[in-house]
Symmetry: C3
Subunit: 400 residues, 3 copies
């Protein structure tokens, strides 16, 4: 008997758990507050659907850390006629540094050759402040000249009569002070073939900027053009510089650094063939004041003469440093961000009710009246407890 | 007296502020709606706990922009026997380009040597379309041959009788057209030692793929093996190519580009020793149609003879270009994403009640009846205002 | 007439849609639960405002995938006096590898020169395990010595009497076993000029670490100092090593790898001039046990003698490998994360009411009593249906 009552109690519990409990509402026929509430509601829903989902695609999981590999290959030849080594033909193997086709490389467009350098003694160049001297005591033997070219021998070289001069140094540069004229390569028509392989690890999706092999022959001939050939990965050096908005001649002479930005913006919910690269060209050695500093460096070739003595030919090369930067962004539908956006949107609507309640209960003329209806004071019914009593049989589970 | 009443008013305000106000509910004993609501509730909670937190670990702040430094060192020797320079021993210093141990490097596996190149005149190779000519007028002096090897001298070279030929050019390539046979290195046993240092800036956590020094001697001997030695950072070149699923012989001959992906997936809530790299090997110079294009480039060594004349030995090297790409993802508990996920989850449950209300009030048979109970119309009690009157003394703060 | 009633019905629908419906609440004068609820409310609001928005700036959209280009330029000279090639002056062109100013480069600080190497036969060095032999049969002709220096000629070289020796090999290293002493460069005062251009693609914001050209002359003279010159991009090699907390002498001798981390932490809601880089120096070739392994590699210069025979000078260079890693993080106000955080915060407050309800209805002494007031059982009014009847004329839209 007791067990029965117990069973029935459990049963009723379970059943009551399946009762649907929903909040009781009062209808405040205040059109102003009501309208306000609807406006809030609609604007949030509009924001969710229109901005968050349609425009920003926030229903997608995003991937921005891209894996990328770049291979480059240059073509084109130039000829120079230098006082030092006569007529010279420049092939990629000569003017691309390093030659192995990296993502960051340098194209020689102008150089100063100083052949057959040997170590010896000579005057430090006057441009180096630390090289100046008034007497031998300023040229302590063996000390290096700060940001200079060699080591002091202990002597101060002064043109007769002059009160100051420059220290004598032991240096490589001693046999070339005279002959150093520039030699410009005609680099405008060099072509750069860029091969870019990317991978989005999160979605394990990978692609290359060189489409399919069908148009292999086309690839040999085409040149990149923003409008006509946006996917041809072969670039004329002249075009690249032109697109950065700088003067080719200026860059060729003083050198410069150009960034080629490859952008992959892929919506992986769409067809993968729509995931295509965009190329962008900007000069990256420009200060705020847009004053360029150019780009150059020195490299040398070493030789030995019959007597085994080392000598070298040093090249001060000005040129264009290409820096290929790849940036990718992929999105694919994912439940989590979707729920997060919907959920927080709904919550904000809930916040809207708070605002409206507050207006209703604090700003409206009939606020006291509304309060009385919205809030039911339990306490003062304490004495009249017998009324609810009988309900206690049907014990209700709470709103969890 | 007035101040007293004022004080008491403030006090009652403060107290009433601590009253707990909770929504009044009606129990609609509709098992169907109730069940639906429970289902929604449980499914969302299940999604939160099971998918979001346990499976996706969305309680963690994620870091995907990794700082990485890679150092590589190759070992192994090969011997070749070329017509040009006889027996040659190839050490890393000879076959690794560049030699300084970068993350992107090239291993010579096959080369064509063209020694003692000097500048001179010869016929452009017939492969170059722009080099063809019918007469000298097609070979304007000084013009470069597009994607060719040199500069036109002004003469069109035709085998007697032939109507067309190729322009004569001034070029490096003039002394080697004949002898150019390939020489393959036995590169299968070369080993690559990869040292990878990573850092997650957000968590300022850093680690290296070379574990501790305890097994230093072991490090000298071990070879990477997916199953047996997954953490040994020494790789046989043969194994690497094998894992990409391509033929080693083919790659050795025509060259190719391989990406070694190092994946760091670290749960920083766990013990840091569990944060270990995974290695992955893929060939990255393959088009959609899986047709390889190979990889090669030219580099040269420059010499001078007694008379100071420059000549060079050019190597056209085929080989394997290794591109080590590091990708890392770390997660660590963070309160913000946790709150966001829980909050939006709860909000969605709230959305569930809306759905159920809507069903209850619009689709159920007894909808009108439920409506009457859910909604209490304030207006029609307006005349009977004296009832609430007395309540106004206990002024209630709103539900904020 | 019917149409009229229809019209009026529609109208009343529309109007009722603008009625403001707000939940009916009961006031449970339980100060404990009320207080608890207020605490939850305030703590969540505090967390939102204080932690999420003020401290973590979660109202911003974050960008962590940065595009970066680095150019480096070294200055300084050193002199060495080697037995092999006498007094030598080292300029950047000699000691920086590669010379073209990349983000990853190597500075020679110590080297072993082995000049005039020719191919020939000699004994494998005893350090190579695979080179040991007891008899000629252990030295199969033509086989390479694993991790060795050359190819077995077939002979086992043993000092007379000894039972074991090392195989004879055909190798480059045969003319230099003797003379190989180290030569240290005084590299402490070398300066590294680092030029870093960055770009945040999401906000298309770009900047360089070299401020404006106003202080161009200053740039020539300044040296980076954490406190005095935090934005001067010129670094003394000695300072860099010092900041890593390692001994310069040790690094100079055995070599090592240093990471220069450039951190861009930009709040793009602020003035852009406040987006400045921070420099950080850490040694990255250290194992957990902080035991260094040093860093060195070999490179060679190739020469030809009159008879056209190739020989080379090999340098085993120890030195400091600098790896410049750029990490950027930019934030800018965005509505979506703001809404998400606020929304989920509100939702959590809602969760708080659940908790309090649960306490109120299950733990409090007067729980049954509260239940009766919170929940209104519809069923038992089913018979008394005539009361609501008349309301059905004013048909209420649900709370959507």
């Amino acid at each position: 008997m007791a067990s029965n009552s117990c069973k029935s109690k459990i049963l009723s519990n379970v059943l009551s758990c399946l009762n649907y409990k929903t909040g009781k509402f009062i209808i405040a026929e205040s059109k102003r507050v009501g309208t306000l509430y609807r406006v809030i509601q609609l604007s949030i829903i509009g924001y969710l659907v229109g901005y968050v989902f349609l425009s920003k695609k926030s229903y997608q999981a995003k991937e921005e850390s891209i894996q990328s590999a770049v291979i480059t290959k240059l073509k084109g030849v130039a000829v120079t006629n230098t006082a030092e080594s006569g007529r010279m033909v420049w092939e990629p193997v000569d003017y691309v540094i390093p030659p192995q086709g990296d993502a960051v490389f340098f194209i020689v467009t102008n150089f100063i050759e100083t052949p057959n350098q040997k170590l010896g003694n000579c005057a430090e160049s006057p441009d180096v402040p630390d090289g100046h001297c008034k007497g031998d005591k300023d040229c302590a033997k063996g000390e290096s000249v700060k940001t200079g070219h060699g080591f002091r021998t202990g002597r101060c070289l002064r043109d007769n009569g002059k009160s100051s001069g420059t220290c004598e140094i032991y240096s490589w540069l001693c046999h070339d002070m005279t002959k150093s004229n520039e030699n410009v390569l005609e680099a405008e028509n060099f072509t750069i073939f860029i091969k870019n392989f990317i991978r989005f690890p999160k979605f394990s999706f990978s692609k290359a900027n060189v489409q399919d092999t069908a148009d292999k022959y086309h690839l040999k001939k085409c040149h990149y053009d923003e409008l006509l050939e946006p996917y041809c990965p072969i670039f004329r050096l002249g075009d690249i510089v032109y697109r950065t908005g700088h003067s080719f001649q200026d860059m060729v002479l003083r050198g410069g650094s150009i960034g080629i930005l490859i952008k992959w913006k892929c919506d992986l919910d769409r067809d993968h063939s729509e995931c295509k690269p965009r190329y962008n060209f900007t000069r990256i050695d420009i200060n705020a004041s847009r004053e360029s500093t150019g780009f150059n460096f020195r490299h040398a070739r070493y030789y030995k003469n019959e007597s085994g003595e080392v000598y070298r030919t040093q090249f001060k090369v000005y040129g264009i440093r290409i820096n290929i930067m790849v940036h990718g962004k992929a999105g694919k539908f994912c439940i989590i961000p979707t729920v997060i956006n919907i959920g927080s949107g709904l919550a904000c609507i809930g916040g809207g009710t708070w605002l409206c309640d507050w207006i209703l209960l604090y700003l409206m003329k009939k606020r006291e009246f509304y309060k009385d209806w919205k809030f039911e004071n339990v306490k003062k019914y304490e004495d009249t407890k017998q009324i609810p009593e009988e309900q206690q049989l049907t014990d209700q589970s709470p709103e969890v």
